[in-house]
Symmetry: C2
Subunit: 194 residues, 2 copies
DNA sequence: GTCTATACGGCGATAGAC
DNA sequence: GTCTATCGCCGTATAGAC
C-alpha cells in the first residue's frame, strides 16, 4: 500500500483512539492494531507518538475548517451572520459522523502539560476563532455562545450522555435544556456515531 | 500526622496534578512527591490510583457545590434568577484560586474510557445540572449559556490562554470576545492561579 | 513498505520492616 | 503511620531482516 494512503488510515484510527482515551491513555500498539499494521511501523512512519498526535490534531482541525468552508459556500450570498452561525453550528454537530473529531479536539485542549501539544492546542483554538471572525463573519458578541454550545456538545459526546437519554430522566432533561428543539436530532446523531 | 489530614493533603496535590496532566498522564509518584510522602504510601492509602482519582473528583465536585451554596446563601432573598446565575457564575471564576478545580473536572469528562470514571463523570455533570435547576433555580433556557461559558473558561485555563493576553493580539481578542467586560478581571484571576 | 525481535525505562502495586 | 526494596508488566523506540 502507498505510504500516503497508509498514513491516512493511521491518522483516522489514531483520531478515534486519541479522542476516546487521550494522549497518554492511548498506546501506539492500539493504534497499530486498529490500522491493521505493526506497532513499530506506526512509530517508524511518524517518528514518535507525540508527532503522530500533533499530526492528528492538525488533520482534525483541517477537517473541521474545510467542512465549515463548504457549508458557507453552500449558503445563499445574502445570508446574515445569524444564518451563517446557525449553518456552521449544524455542520459542527453533523461532524459527529467523523468519529472522534470533537473528542480529539477536547483531548488536545486538556493535554497542554506536554509543551508541544499545548502550543498546538492554543494555536488551534485561535485558528478556530479567526475562522469564525474573519471567514464566517461572526461578530464577537456571538462568539461566546457559539463556542459554548460547541463545547457542551463535545463534552456530552465525551461522557456519552446521549446514550442515557431513554433511561435517565435527568440526563434527558439536561440534553433538552442544552440542545432545545434540536435535542432529538442531536441525540440520534451522537448515538449513530458511538 | 493523622490520616485524615494526610488524605486531604494528598487529595489537594492530586487534584492539581490530575487537572494539569490527566489521569493517565499523572503518576502516583508525582502525587507522592508533591504531598511529601512515598509512592507506595499513596497507593496504600487509597487502594489504587483509580480510587484516588474518583475520590479527587468527588471532593472537587463537593467543593464546587459547597461554594455555590455559600454564594446563594449570601444573596438577598429577593434575588431573581439572573442575579443568582450571575453570582454563581462569578463564584465559578473565583474558584480558579482552588488550583486545578476546573481542569480536574474537564479531565474527568474526557477520561470516560475508564468505565468507573465515565460513570462518575456523567453522574457529576448531572449533579451540577440538578444543582442549577433545583437549588439555584436557573431555568432550562439559561442552562446552556451558563454551562457553555463555564466550559469556555475551563478550556481557556487548560490551554493557558490568559498567559498569552499581552503577547498575542488574537488571544487577547478571543479572551475579550468570550469574557466581555469581565475579561481583565478573569485574565488576572487565571494568571494568579497559574 | 513492512515485519519480528528486543532493549530499556517507567509505573502501579505488593511485601515486609520499623 | 510510614518507609525501603522490589516485582512484573507494559509501552516506546531501535535494530535489522525480507
Amino acid at each position: 500500500m502507498p505510504a500516503a494512503e497508509r498514513r491516512a488510515m493511521i491518522l483516522d484510527a489514531a483520531r478515534d483512539l486519541f479522542g476516546r482515551q487521550g494522549y497518554h491513555g492511548t498506546t501506539t500498539d492500539q493504534i497499530a492494531k486498529a490500522a491493521g499494521i505493526s506497532q513499530p511501523y506506526v512509530v517508524r512512519m511518524f517518528g514518535a507518538k507525540e508527532t503522530l498526535f500533533l499530526e492528528v490534531l492538525d488533520a482534525t482541525l483541517a477537517t473541521l475548517v474545510d467542512a465549515w468552508r463548504g457549508t458557507l459556500d453552500g449558503l445563499p450570498s445574502g445570508a446574515d451572520e445569524h444564518e451563517r452561525a446557525r449553518a456552521i453550528g449544524e455542520q459542527f454537530v453533523d461532524l459527529a459522523a467523523t468519529r472522534g473529531l470533537h473528542t480529539m479536539l477536547l483531548q488536545a485542549f486538556v493535554s497542554g502539560a506536554e509543551p508541544a501539544i499545548g502550543r498546538a492546542a492554543r494555536e488551534g483554538f485561535l485558528g478556530i476563532y479567526r475562522f469564525l471572525r474573519d471567514e464566517a463573519g461572526i461578530p464577537d458578541e456571538q462568539v461566546q455562545g457559539f463556542l459554548g454550545s460547541g463545547m457542551i456538545f463535545s463534552v456530552m459526546l465525551a461522557i456519552d450522555m446521549p446514550a442515557r437519554f431513554d433511561d435517565d430522566e435527568d440526563a434527558a432533561a439536561l440534553l433538552r435544556a442544552t440542545f432545545g428543539e434540536k435535542c432529538m436530532q442531536v441525540v440520534a446523531l451522537a448515538r449513530a456515531a458511538a
